[in-house]
């Protein structure tokens, strides 16, 4: 099942910044009370300041870029690259993902940013796990996990 990714397809620009999120803390009446859903949506995060895609990890530097193993999914290989800055996950980019047909692109235009957000939330806000399955998460999680493991993060 294991496949080697031969090429880095390219950086998916603009998919991910250093996202922040706010939890809803609006005042809430007794159930079934509606929780305010007008909280800020977190677009426009900081620009990607990660290293060049092919930059090797430099021991002792404050910023390392690690690429996870390519993981096969039913839609094609998925490969994730992470940047670790000062011991914290600072960027996650899918460097390879299925895009062979319009349907794949449609799926990924939603799923990849969602998963990037999850990964960054987990790295920055000490969220240990995310509840709620996401469509193409399998290969992504697998590749991400291998990258995290290679980086020795947490």
């Amino acid at each position: 099942m294991r496949r080697v990714a031969f090429a880095i397809v390219g950086t998916i620009a603009g998919l991910v910044g250093l996202l922040s999120f706010k939890t809803h803390s609006a005042s809430i009446a007794n159930p079934p009370a509606a929780i305010s859903t007008t909280g800020p949506s977190t677009s426009g995060g900081a620009p990607n300041t990660g290293s060049e895609p092919s930059a090797p990890s430099v021991p002792g530097s404050s910023s390392n870029t690690v690429t996870g193993d390519a993981a096969d999914t039913r839609w094609g290989p998925v490969q994730v690259r992470i940047t670790v800055t000062n011991g914290k996950l600072s960027d996650v980019t899918a460097v390879e993902y299925p895009s062979e047909n319009p349907r794949d692109q449609e799926i990924n235009s939603y799923a990849i940013p969602a998963l990037n957000r999850e990964a960054l939330s987990a790295g920055n806000a000490k969220i240990d796990m995310i509840s709620g399955a996401t469509y193409t998460s399998q290969g992504y999680v697998q590749s991400l996990q291998s990258a995290l493991d290679k980086a020795g993060l947490k």
Binding site: M1, R2, L19, S20, F21, K22, T23, H24, S25, I28, N30, P31, P32, A33, A34, I35, T37, G39, S41, T42, S43, D69, A71, G87, K88, Y110, P113, A114, R117, E118, S121, A122, N124, A125, K126, I127, D128, M129, I130, S131, G132, A133, T134, Y135, S137, Q138, V141, Q142, Q145, S146, L148, D149, G152, L153, K154
Partner: protein, 263 residues
């Protein structure tokens, strides 16, 4: 499949294993020092055994053979009787909003994954772990703490806005299950109409047992916003619902954290 088990030695020793099974991904995350290869091997075998017995996609699974009338309950794996009993209990508690026969066919899927994860977690405990999480496709059972003095924190994904986490829940020894209409393309059927549930797009249930939380999340998704009132009478469980009109509802005991901000 590619086994992914790794140990990292930085702040604390942690063992993580990712396994594909039941059409989704399972993560076993042990936060205790030690070599847990045997424990993980045991849990992984268990998960695949559950898939062999309960899959509705495997022609030769016990569930499919029961559907076709080729075997009776006596001839099935003994776990089948336990699961169907748990399904019957959940059907009673939820007033029929959860059922193991959502399409008129035997399909205990809405409870099996949570049940499998909860048993996986118990198996880890039996192997000696004290702080661990088992996550099956976004449904998880969490034991102990994520780190010394730091409880487990679980983000609830916002089904509408890809860049947001709706809220977080935090604690020790609890379970979180989320059911959604968009999840893996599968529609949850309203057993009273036979049509896909439309009142909510996402339902999350927390409580002590993932077996129950998983079934209740399915039921609450069908109930819609009314589900947060229903669950108020279920001891130990809370619910968060994102309705079809994108409004969020929570049960009275669902605590909204005020101390969590992005780092």
């Amino acid at each position: 499949m590619t086994p992914l088990t790794a140990r990292a030695h930085t702040e604390q020793q942690r063992t993580v294993h990712v396994e594909h099974c039941m059409g989704t991904v399972f993560t076993i995350d042990i936060r205790d020092p030690g070599n847990w290869d045997d424990a993980i091997g045991d849990v992984v075998s268990w998960l695949h055994e559950v898939d062999r017995v309960f899959s509705t996609y495997r022609y030769d699974s016990d569930i499919c053979r029961l559907q076709r009338g080729e075997i009776t309950l006596d001839g099935a794996d003994r776990d089948v009787a336990e699961v169907l009993e748990l399904c019957a209990d959940a059907q009673v508690v939820t007033g029929g909003y959860f059922t193991a026969m959502p399409n008129g066919r035997l399909d205990p899927t809405g409870l099996v994954k949570g049940w499998a994860v909860e048993h996986a977690s118990r198996r880890l405990t039996a192997h000696g772990t004290a702080n661990q999480a088992v996550n099956g496709g976004g449904d998880m059972q969490l034991v102990g703490e994520a780190a010394s003095g730091r409880p487990w924190t679980v983000g609830i994904g916002d089904p509408r806005e890809s860049r947001r986490v709706l809220t977080v829940v935090s604690g020790r020894d609890f379970a979180v299950a989320t059911s959604g209409t968009a999840e893996r393309g599968a529609h949850i059927v309203d057993p009273f109409t036979g049509h896909p549930a439309t009142r909510a797009i996402s339902a999350t249930v927390t409580g002590p047992s993932l077996t129950q939380a998983d079934a209740y999340a399915t039921a609450v998704l069908v109930m819609g916003p009314a589900g947060v009132r229903w669950i108020a009478d279920v001891d130990g469980y809370e619910a968060l619902v994102v309705a079809a009109d994108a409004t969020c509802y929570r049960s009275s005991g669902w605590r909204i954290p005020t101390d969590v901000r992005s780092g």
